[in-house]
């Protein structure tokens, strides 16, 4: 990479941090919502069965 290593690695590091952050936030948000909806559906079906 010669004299330009700092610029090249910084670019890839910035891109990596930004994209990884976006991926993690998106997946965590999806998994949290999925888990809540699934839990709610199970609870509702239990209530409906008990009624």
């Amino acid at each position: 990479m010669g004299d330009y290593g700092f610029y090249i690695w910084s670019s890839y590091a910035v891109m990596g941090v930004l994209v990884t952050g976006l991926i993690l936030r998106s997946l965590i948000r999806y998994l949290r919502a999925r888990r809540l909806v699934d839990a709610l559906s199970v609870n509702l079906s239990k209530i409906e069965r008990s009624e």
């Binding site: 990479m1 010669g2 004299d3 330009y4 290593g5 610029y7 090249i8 910084s10 670019s11 890839y12 910035v14 891109m15 930004l18 994209v19 952050g21 976006l22 991926i23 998106s26 997946l27 948000r29 999806y30 919502a33 999925r34 809540l36 909806v37 709610l40």
Partner: protein, 246 residues
């Protein structure tokens, strides 16, 4: 718009139908995005140095695809907003809202990586030329769009205001694209889209196109995930708002 297209749009207007499709394509999209990114990175670091830019050409392999994506995502948001306003497609606003943070991240990445390339090549981190300034305006449009969704509590009103901003802001997309042709800028003119007379050697062009493809697949994987999360959260909000459920 043809009858078949309208039927297709109406079918996926039902969030249940969309969720069925999304659950089928979700994992394959993430798998494909991972493979494409890994191969793109492999090509990027094995490409020869450019005769003018030297090793810094490797920054182009992430900077240029990020710039393509930032323009594409804003056009997507404007298109989805138009679809929501005209056809009242319920997924239009959801898709546009889900895409905005992705676009903002890639626009920010474009500006930072461009700056990191500009310093060794131009001798400056930043110049107020037409291309750089219009991309900065694009970032502000993304942030403004996201701020409207956060600032207005009534979802219908927020959706309408955000859609109007997206449509008005879409004027900036051709300005970004053609700024290098209309004005005398430090930023070089388009070189990849000149298919009639390629301006890039295939050794540089292939890694660039591979990374471009990988970024686009990643965008669709992120979009599908975020739209699913948004629909699930809407279901939860609707459940908790409904007084019949206590």
């Amino acid at each position: 718009m043809s009858r078949k297209k309208i039927d297709w749009l109406q079918y996926y207007a039902n969030p249940h139908n969309f969720m069925n499709l999304a659950q089928r394509v979700h994992m394959p999209l993430w798998g494909l995005a991972s493979l494409a990114l890994a191969y793109g990175l492999f090509l990027s670091f094995n490409a020869p140095a450019d005769y003018q830019q030297g090793e810094t050409v490797r920054i182009m392999f992430i900077h240029v695809p990020a710039a393509w994506l930032s323009l594409f995502i804003y056009s997507f948001i404007a298109g989805a907003s138009l679809l929501a306003l005209i056809f009242r497609h319920p997924l239009g606003h959801v898709a546009a809202r889900a895409a905005a943070p992705i676009g903002a991240v890639f626009t920010l990445a474009t500006l930072i990586t461009g700056s990191l390339w500009g310093q060794p090549m131009w001798g400056t981190w930043w110049v107020w030329d037409a291309r750089l300034t219009s991309v900065l305006v694009l970032l502000f449009l993304y942030l403004g769009y996201m701020a409207i969704w956060r600032a207005i509590e009534a979802p219908d009103q927020a959706a309408k205001m955000a859609a109007i901003l997206a449509l008005v802001g879409s004027v900036n997309v051709p300005i970004v694209k053609f700024s290098v042709d209309w004005r005398n800028t430090l930023h070089q003119p388009a070189s990849v889209s000149r298919f009639a007379r390629p301006a890039i050697h295939p050794d540089i062009l292939y890694p660039l196109l591979m990374m471009g493809g990988a970024f686009f697949i990643l965008f669709f994987a992120l979009l599908v995930t975020r739209v699913q999360a948004e629909i699930l959260e809407q279901r939860l909000r609707a459940r908790y708002r409904d007084p019949a459920d206590g």
